[in-house]
């Protein structure tokens, strides 16, 4: 069993969804139920693979890559099929594997217009391949390929199944991300040629794209060049996160995307950017990272405050949640910018927590939209009276989102703020303490906009126009199935944050030590 997992486990997890998508491709569109069953079965098979991987993961040795596979891929540029996971990627892969089947279940009876479950589900499965692949890849080119594969299905998902301004939103999403990744690939190339030659598996010496060998090989890069290279990667990952001022694609994409698209976008896609920082940019170019860190920290806290202020100005519930993502990802980036193991651990926890909580909020928003056909906050009200269960779930998610201790959101934000007190390396302490204070103010604003949202949507009495609307019914069965796992995890991680910290800590401590900043 273990041999099997070691050689095939990750590749199966990556490519099972794709295989499912190919099977669905040849089945006629009219057989909708068959498509749904195949898609769900495929994603559950991936979950099974995930459980096997989780069960066989050596948690005491979270800093080494496990289930590692190294196969020849493009010998011409010494790019190899390197996949493996450690304590940093494991939580994110688990998150991805969890979210996808939940999304498929959620869509079961409510496919957004123009329906076509076949195409919709195929896109979700391709998306899953891209996301899991990105988190597993240990070769820059392989990473880039998966990173880009994610773009296509999301583009179509927003553009075909989205809201009224879907075309604009889809194009904006695509062009922003493409711009970032185009600069990122130039950076990867520069990294490849400027780094030292390393011994190759086929024998001989040569340049490499391997993320395992690059941290050492990249030490010869002059500090000026490293700053530029880091800048290119910063654009690639920062736009994806998204960091202020590149965040403007996010509210449009989220607002226009179909519910499931928003959930996947918030839960997983944004993490590709922050994961890129933790996995690639920081370990390979630690010195450049140190020079960039004050700037990244600054943009992060601007994002926190700016995102929160924008939330206060929103009239649309989905758009508000989207801007809250900007603020939350600001905390994650602040944690990363401290360059300490404490901060990066917090960032990873923040990524998972944000995935669960914001995913949940988008689910609720989607369901509300389906019932009311609007998300205009001013027109909603009295959810607790009309649909008490959904009202409570919304309240619970909002509390989690504002960082209530005892729920998952707290463990993402609080340690990130705390870590800024003592940044790593030679970073300016006074500066980061200012960031800390500003970020802490951000949590107050978060409480303000979330409570304000909750108050207006859930309290009071239902508005006249919806009071007797028969379409407005409480949480349905498929919604329960899709939501309960998320809600349970938010509580469990809130009470036992160590489940996650224990997994990531080994890898993070090791990575930070290897950066050699003395922090």
């Amino acid at each position: 069993m273990e041999d099997f997992l070691n050689s095939w486990g990750l590749s199966l997890a990556i490519f099972i969804p794709l295989a499912g998508a190919i099977v669905m491709l040849v089945i006629p569109r009219a057989r909708e139920d068959l498509h749904k069953v195949i898609a769900l079965a495929t994603s559950l098979l991936v979950v099974l693979m995930g459980i096997l991987l989780l069960a066989n993961f050596d948690y005491d040795d979270g800093s080494t890559l496990q289930f590692f596979v190294d196969k020849s891929w493009i010998p011409f540029i010494n790019s190899r099929y390197l996949v493996g996971i450690d304590g940093i990627s494991l939580p994110l892969i688990a998150l991805t594997m969890l979210i996808v089947p939940l999304c498929i279940i959620y869509s079961w009876n409510h496919f957004p217009e123009p329906r076509n479950p076949k195409a919709f589900l195929i896109l979700i499965l391709i998306l899953e391949t891209g996301m899991i692949g990105t988190f597993c890849a240990q070769d820059l080119i392989l990473f880039f390929v998966f990173f880009e594969v994610v773009l296509l299905p999301m583009y179509f998902m927003i553009g075909v199944w989205g809201g009224e301004k879907r075309r604009y939103a889809a194009m904006k999403f695509f062009l922003y991300t493409l711009f970032g990744s185009a600069l990122m690939i130039v950076s990867f190339m520069a990294l490849y040629f400027l780094s030292a030659e390393v011994p190759l598996p086929d024998g001989g010496m040569g340049h490499t794209f391997s993320m395992i060998q690059l941290p050492e090989a990249a030490q010869v890069i002059s500090s000026g060049a490293a700053l530029w290279i880091f800048g290119g990667m910063f654009m690639g990952f920062g736009i994806k996160v998204p960091m202020f001022p590149f965040h403007t694609w996010l509210p449009d994409a989220h607002t226009q995307a179909p519910t499931v698209g928003s959930v996947i976008l918030a839960a997983v896609l944004l993490k590709l950017g922050t994961y890129g920082f933790v996995r690639i940019a920081l370990p390979i170019l630690p010195d450049a990272a140190e020079s960039w860190a004050p700037f990244i920290g600054l943009l992060a806290v601007i994002g926190i405050i700016y995102g929160a202020l924008c939330c206060l100005a929103q009239t649309d519930m989905k758009r508000l949640i989207a801007f809250s993502s900007v603020a939350h990802m600001g905390f994650v980036m602040l944690g990363i910018a401290t360059l300490t193991d404490f901060g990066i651990n917090a960032a990873i926890f923040g990524m998972v927590a944000h995935g669960l909580i914001t995913g949940m909020l988008f689910f609720v928003a989607g369901s509300a939209k389906e019932r009311f056909h609007t998300l205009d906050i001013a027109r909603l009200g009295g959810m607790l009276k009309q649909m008490p269960r959904m009202g409570w779930i919304l309240g619970f998610s909002a509390m989690a989102s504002l960082g209530l201790p005892g729920l998952a959101g707290f463990w993402g934000e609080f340690p990130a703020i705390l870590s800024a007190y003592q940044p790593g390396g030679d970073l300016n302490e006074a500066l980061f303490r200012v960031y800390m204070v500003v970020a802490a103010l951000g949590t107050v604003l978060a409480a303000a906009y979330l409570l304000w949202l909750y108050q207006r949507v859930a309290f009071g009495t239902p508005k006249e126009e919806f009071a007797h609307d028969p379409h407005v019914h409480d949480v349905s069965f498929t919604e329960y199935v899709a939501w309960v796992p998320l809600l349970v995890l938010i509580v469990v991680l809130g009470f036992f944050p160590n489940i996650l910290f224990k997994v990531s800590d080994g890898a993070v401590t090791n990575a930070v030590a290897a950066m050699g900043l003395g922090g």
Partner: protein
Amino acid sequence: MLAQLLAQWQSPSFDFHAFAPEIIVVATLVVVLVLDAFTGEESRWASSSLAGIGLLVAAIPIATLAYDGADRVLFGGGYVVDTYALVLKALFLASAYVVVLLSTNYIAEGDYWEGEYYLMVLASVLGMMVMASARDLISIFVALELLSIPAYMLAAWRKRDLKSDEAGLKYYLMGVFASAVMLYGMSVIYGVTGTTLLSGIADTIGPAISSEPIVTLGIVFVLIGFAFKVSAVPFHTWSPDTYEGAPTPVTAFLAVASKAAGFVALLSLIFVGFWGRSDVWEPLIWVLAALTMFVGNLIALRQTNVVRMLAYSGIAQAGYILSPLAVAGTDPEVASQALHSIVIYLLIYAAMNLGAFAVVMAVARKTRSAESSTFGGLFGYAPGLTVAMTVFLFSLAGIPPAAGWFAKLGIFQALASAGTPSGYILAVIVAVNSVIAFAYYGRLLRIMWMDDAPDGDTTPIRVPASITAALGLTVAVTIVFGVAPGLVTHFTDPIQLLALGG
């Protein structure tokens, strides 16, 4: 006297194996000609099958030559059959085969001359194959004319259509002008060096007479001649009108095979003949490449006709392909990177662009137009074609897993390998242009996937078998090369073309 001469005359040793692909194409050409001349209307359909079969058969000796592996040098170095030539000949044969597949129904149904059409295609392909091997100014020029003159006529094949006449005439006038400029440059170079052999030129125009402005003039003129051929800005003005007016299969042929032939000549000239004078051609090509990318992409943004859009996108793509040459002179290692990246790009470009034209043709069979609005709602009634077009557009935009990403990666790699600021700046320009380009590829995708069909007309499209075959081939190649780029590099790895290796 004559008898005496005849007695002295020795047949030059002639390597029939090396010439087998060309001989087969010539034989096919003759058969098509004879068939057309001596049979009636009823057997005209056979000419397309014959042409297709001939092109496939010609690929057999290419495979045996590649298996044999030895470089064959003929005519004192003026004609070389090496891996580089073989890979490109295979490319020309394959693209021509796809073009024949695309033409079959178009030409048969449109009341055009059939026999002559395939005759012209075969003659043009012959010119391209010769071009791949030519290492001598004269054979390069002959190959160029052999491939161009039939192409001028093909562009005007839709007789009685003003746009097609315009296409042919414009192409002809511009082409002849370019040939004249090039020929003048060649004569200057011959005058200075006293040889037409590229390797001989390389030996003489090195640093020794580097200060001679006349050499610079010659090189610039020759390169500009080919800049017309590959439609680099500012010598691109013919291509959109020609592409739009010419019959669509011919457009595909011009955009892929003919352009590739232009690049092949550029590569031979730069890497063999003018290798020592990178101080002249590097800056020239840097500017051409940057201009070509920007102008091509920016004008493509404004196009409402898919064929014109593909024409401008093809101009921009030519800019990407040119850009590695702008740093190729740094050192032999960079040069080899540049050469490989360009050949890989040409191979992948052929598959994805031919595929895109195939879809346009299939759709135009129903809509009788190539306006982008007629693609509206395609996903609703022709999902197969839409997915195929999506693959091609993503490939053209350079997004994995379609093959285009690897082609573009090669360009980035070559530019970065130079390690000079100018290389990195050009790499960033390529990156920025990739984003601009997606704006119009993405718009077409949006129209196909997200808009409604014009007039609610959703009758399905009947795609003829030959176009289906062409689509199948190109989609397969585009995906397979994208997922397993090792397959492309397997063919291109042994390529050597430096002055050092001749």
